[in-house]
Amino acid sequence: MKRILMVEDEAHIVRLMTMALERAGYAVDSAGNGVEALEYLQGQHPDVMITDIDMPRMTGQELCMQLNAELPERDFLIVVVTARTEVEHREWSRMIPNLEFLEKPVSMRKLVSRLDEHFADTAVSGD
């Protein structure tokens, strides 16, 4: 079962996304902010990390930059889901490989199909 780490501070969104992703057959772990996510990543790596940008203690941007620096060989996909759509966010996200940018409000159906697609691709290339 593919494992997904969801980094999100908004409780309603965590709950809805967890429900949708679990129904789609994924295992979901959640972290409330960047610091919690880094703590999680100390122990294990998910297959995909979905993260918000605006979060307390450590933002999604800081988390991604730090991961990019600390884990240059990272093999899991990062999906940044946010309501922030400024150009500068697009710019930094483009500099990080294996990262996708989705704009809120995001459809769970689309997110799930994107993840399915991603895992199908990796399964093919892995084979």
Binding site: H12, I13, L16, M17, A20, N33, A83, K104, P105, M108
Partner: protein, 618 residues
């Protein structure tokens, strides 16, 4: 002084004196001519007489000429017959020249001089000079014959006529001189009379010149000079008008020069006192003027840059490149442009440089130079960034509840929507999020209106007791706070204050909402009003999570939310306190916070009771 007087007299009387001198000269000349004529006339007379007389005597026999030859001596007879006063002597001499007989005028000695012996010279005349006193004589001589041969000579001498005044001539001369001399004063007075107008005019001119009052120069005369004086006055009039015209033109020029100078000074003053740093570049691109702001804004000495090109006084490549575009550019390619740059020594600042080509006022095809203005646009940049941040925040804060709404509505369509429990949950969440969005939008509108200055504050006397009580009870009844203890401490007789009750209610409502939102279970919310001499104090006190010391300066900033988890766990958008403070400041009051973390917070509003009265008085 004496010299001046003498010269004045000489100047005035020189005509008279000259005339007297001239008349005397004329008299002398006439007398001289008379004397000369008289001398010549007398000389001719005695020559005539002498020649004829010696001829007569020559024909008398020699013997009769000898003394005692007859009873009456011929010579004595002749002497007595000579009435001529010029007669000097008459002598008979032998051929050797020795005197034989002679008669003389009294006191005269006939000069001894031999008669020339040549026969051709026997008859003649000559001039002799006496040996003693040098008396000059005109002598006529002729031979005396006896028996056909030369027996002697007769010599007749006359005093040579001289120029001298005889007493008998005096009346004649006086009669001659007097009319001539009398003509002098006559002419003098005639001339004086004729030139009197000229002299008067001259004296008047002297006086006017001394007084320097040329404007009143008007002279008058009659007689022969009237015409001249009339023309002279016309000339003076013309000159006066011309001078007045020149003075007027000069005054006009002076005024124009003053005005130009004033305008130039004004333009310079404007340029020098502009808040922007201004540099004027001439046609060659060299700085020809700069104001004092250049040194404060760019750190360049304003005088040191004069005559230099930007590359010599500016060390910022962007600026040099920008200004280089204006150097020697044609009119077609020249237009006003500006560019932002960050000074290397102050990276926190943003400056803007604008260049404006200076077209010649009457010849748009000619460029006189370039006006370069440097401005500190740091504040504008910050404001723009702040505005951009504000919009980004608003968009984000609106999208967050929208995202929740979208996800719940999508979920309701799916399998999750089939359960009753999820439908209830979704309905509650959607309701809360809509309320949150609505409050957010209201707050954004209010805070924007306040910041833009477009909010119309409608003050009225409000019973604070009623306002606070109503607001408090509305919040307490909102249903989210069943486990909190609500306490209201309002003096019933608290003074009415002049406030916009709707705005004040928003502020109180935001404070009370926060007091509930960030409280702990079983805590309390307290609303207290206190009245002092000049102020009314409204306190909202809670027993909640408190405010961390590092957050206290920031909680009133727009969109600021603490990173603390206890705060993040509550929904909010960071506008409530910012709006509350703006509203209180609009009422000339203060909003402050006292807090102990994990124990509680109190927000204190202080409103002046007299603020409105003072405002009215002013």
């Amino acid at each position: 002084m004496r010299t001046v007087k003498v010269s004045a007299i000489w100047r005035n009387e020189r005509l008279g004196l000259s005339m007297i001198a001239a008349s005397l000269l004329v008299i002398v000349l006439i007398v001289g001519l008379l004397f000369t004529y008289q001398q010549k006339s007398e000389t001719d007379h005695i020559r005539q007489q002498g020649v004829s007389l010696v001829r007569v005597l020559s024909s008398i026999p020699y013997q009769q000429m000898l003394p005692g030859a007859s009873r009456s001596d011929v010579l004595s007879l002749l002497q007595h017959s000579q009435a001529n006063r010029l007669f000097a002597y008459l002598a008979v001499v032998d051929p050797q020249g020795d005197p034989v007989n002679e008669v003389t005028a009294p006191g005269v000695i006939a000069p001894s001089a031999a008669v020339p012996s040549a026969p051709s010279s026997w008859l003649g005349e000559r001039t002799l000079v006496a040996d003693g006193d040098g008396q000059s004589f005109l002598e006529f001589h002729a031979p005396l014959l006896a028996a056909g041969s030369l027996a002697g000579y007769v010599r007749l001498g006359y005093f040579r006529p001289g120029i001298g005044l005889h007493s008998e001539q005096l009346p004649f001369l006086a009669t001659l001189a007097l009319p001539i001399f009398l003509l002098t004063p006559l002419f003098y007075f005639l001339i004086k009379h004729e030139i009197r107008p000229l002299r008067c005019a001259n004296e008047k001119l002297d006086t006017l010149i001394e007084q320097g009052d040329f404007a009143r120069c008007e002279i008058s005369a009659n007689g022969g000079f009237a015409d001249f004086v009339h023309r002279f006055n016309q000339f003076i009039d013309f000159t006066r008008n011309r001078i007045a015209q020149l003075e007027s033109e000069q005054a006009s020029l002076f005024t124009s020069a003053k005005l130009l100078s004033y305008r130039r000074d004004r333009v310079e003053t404007v340029l020098l006192s502009l808040p922007d740093a201004v540099v004027v570049l001439d046609e060659s691109g060299a700085a020809c003027m700069a104001n004092g702001r250049v040194s404060t804004l760019l750190g360049i000495d304003q005088d040191a840059i004069l005559g230099k090109k930007p590359g010599e006084w500016c060390d910022i490549p962007d600026v040099i490149e920008f200004l280089g575009n204006y150097e020697g550019k044609s009119v077609r390619g020249c237009q006003s442009e500006s560019v932002d740059f960050v000074p290397p020594d102050a990276p926190e600042k943003t400056l803007n440089v604008s260049a404006y080509p200076l077209f010649a006022p009457r010849d748009g095809a000619q460029i006189l130079g370039t006006l370069v203005a440097f401005r500190d646009t740091t504040a504008e940049h910050l404001a723009r960034r702040s505005s951009e941040n504000f919009v980004a925040h608003v968009a984000h804060e609106l999208k967050t509840p929208l995202n929740v709404l979208a996800m719940y509505s999508e979920a309701l369509h799916g399998e999750d929507g089939q359960t009753e429990a999820f439908r209830v949950e979704a309905t509650n969440v959607i309701h809360d999020e809509v309320e949150r969005m609505s409050m957010l939008i209201n707050n954004i509108l209010s805070i924007t209106k306040i910041e833009m200055g477009s909010l119309n504050v409608q003050r009225q006397r409000v019973k604070l007791h009623d306002l606070l009580k109503d607001a408090f009870e509305t919040v307490a009844r909102s249903g989210r706070s069943e486990d909190l203890d609500f306490q209201l401490d309002l003096p019933r007789d608290i003074s009415a204050v002049s406030v916009d009750k709707d705005l004040l209610r928003i502020a109180i409502n935001n404070l009370l909402t926060n007091a509930i939102k960030y409280n702990r279970p079983g805590g309390s919310v307290e609303l207290v009003a206190e009245e002092y001499d000049d102020t009314v104090r409204i306190i909202v006190r809670d027993t909640g999570i408190g405010i961390a010391p590092e957050d206290r300066d920031k909680i009133f900033k727009k969109f600021y939310r603490s990173d603390k988890e206890a705060v993040r766990n509550k929904s909010g958008h960071g506008l409530g306190l910012a709006l509350a403070r703006e509203i209180i400041q609009l009422h000339h009051g203060t909003l402050s916070a006292n807090s102990v973390p994990d124990q509680g917070t109190e927000f204190v509003i202080e409103l002046s009771k007299n603020a409105d009265l003072l405002k009215q008085a002013v």
